[in-house]
Point group: none
Chain length 194, copies 4
């Protein structure tokens, strides 16, 4: 991915994101992307090596933004519970604005190790570590489930995805907090974190 004009690169990425979110990979033609982005087809290939590369760059781009937005919420001092709540709210807000990323993030790459595939793997790992660290902090305040922080992280991400993915927008304003309660206390109670 050698971007010459960042603005144009973004143009392409946005167009592709919308199309790939609405249709499956094989249903989206490079012609469509070019038309949608308002550039010629050849231009796509100046910015991305091929269709696969474009798709991966798209996913990486989205995860990077999500990572960046989440990062500030989880690192640094503060009550672990508040951090988790903020983290969830943040993700919900992110997906509210970028609904198509919910679709994109699902795909796991199995293909060869091109530069883009590696980048995708890297950001995925980074992102998952972030969530794991966030969840780990709960252990210090007596949450025994956090003994398996990786499972807890997967559970948290699973809940969020499950809710957002299959609840039609617009989402009720209390959804993020409902998720928080469910994740922290299960089905039992809606009690605050203490």
């Amino acid at each position: 991915m050698r971007t010459y004009d960042p603005k144009r690169g973004q143009q392409i990425l946005d167009a592709a994101a919308q199309l790939f979110a609405m249709h499956h990979y094989h249903e989206v033609r490079m012609d469509d992307i070019a038309d949608h982005a308002g550039v010629a087809k050849g231009t796509l290939y100046r910015y991305y090596n091929d269709k696969e590369d474009l798709y991966l760059a798209l996913t990486v781009h989205g995860m990077q933004r999500l990572f960046d937005e989440s990062h500030g919420k989880t690192i640094g001092p503060g009550d672990p519970c508040d951090k988790v709540r903020d983290f969830i709210r943040n993700i919900v807000k992110f997906y509210e604005q970028q609904p198509y990323f919910l679709e994109l993030i699902q795909r796991i790459e199995t293909s060869g190790s091109t530069a883009s595939t590696n980048a995708l793997h890297a950001i995925r790992t980074q992102w998952f570590q972030l969530v794991t660290e966030l969840v780990s902090q709960l252990e210090s305040i007596g949450k025994p489930m956090a003994e398996r922080p990786q499972w807890a992280a997967l559970a948290l991400v699973g809940i969020i995805r499950g809710l957002l993915r299959f609840t039609p927008q617009p989402w009720p304003s209390d959804m993020a907090d409902w998720i928080y309660d469910q994740f922290m206390h299960g089905m039992t109670t809606r009690a605050a974190c203490v």
Copy 2:
């Protein structure tokens, strides 16, 4: 889908399931499926109208089996908590034996309303109703989160998927119970259901 020789139909479905679980839709060729199933390519078209139809039949088939296996656990008398635990254990066991369905189930059809699309929609709805009913039963024993049984159902399914999807097999034997605890009590405690 007009199956003439059920055995042969199953052969094709199994072959397709494995391939579609390992690669994305557009990466799997009808040639591959035919080879893998040990039949000629033309035969595929005697059993399924086209590639999309085969794919949908596959998903429907998998969800139907999952539904059938889960059904007995959730209907009828019994402690709701036990039912939930059994339900989770059952799903974990199912995916242990059919790991590729975890991949398949993700896809949501957006294409036109063929017979197969409708069948998929029907079984999906049926399945989701099953989980929702199961979760609803928790309300009767004082689980306030069950006031929104649909959200709770999505959360449960999300946790299960999150854990199974990203934890490499073989899965530890206590994973199902960990999921149960997380779903019922959140991060707080590992206490049994009382």
Copy 3:
């Protein structure tokens, strides 16, 4: 190159030979070849991996035929001079019937070592060894230039090519014998071989 129906494979090869002889590689489209051969474009790719492969197969095919036709003339007992004369006559006759191979044979492959490239190299080497052996036999009857049989072989092939390539057909009937005289005695005389 996996040929299923030899007849159809020949059909394609003939069509391609004519087109490649009339136009350069990059000027001939796969569509043209398909049209000319009376098959669909996809069929070309059942018989040959890609355009390059088709082109190479074509050249190999032609050289193989030339080699086969020349082989009988050069091996076995007999007067070396007669053999050379027959050899030249044979080549002239061959090119009279397959004029486009004169164009094709020029190209030397520099590309990667696919199966076809190797095959081309093999037949080229075989063919050149044949000519070299033929020429070597002249040494036994006191032709000192045959001390460098490889150079002499190149000279012979060069003369033949030079004459045929740039003399418009139909060729005078004595052209083969003129070549023989030139090769054997140079500019000096037209005397027969004794």
Copy 4:
């Protein structure tokens, strides 16, 4: 072809010559030529109308140089045999220094009659007449094969090309003289021209 800066025009021609000698026409991209020449792609089009034009100019340029260098050797008084020997030596030396022209000269244009195509045809004809005249002079000293000077010219050029084209450099110092002997006396003897 309107050359503005001759130095730059030569730069382009040299770069193109090397690339076209190493790869076939359709394998060489205008990008490659521009990179190799150290100019921008657009600049190529200020000096040549299109790719074909550049290619033809290249060939014409090479043949013109060969013609110029050969011209002095063949015209004017002197022993015809010596002239032929010098002519051969000269060509060998020329190709030693410009090895890629051996590859270029092979191509015959079949495309439309642009100015460049005509120029190529003109120089080719001129060059061939030169060789024919040279060979014709041999008749005066009793070389009967020179009764067909055009054939003899083609034979001479064919021998030279055959040897040089398929003998890897560096070439033995006696190669030019071996060619001379072969052309003048055939396989018979290595005797000098008397």
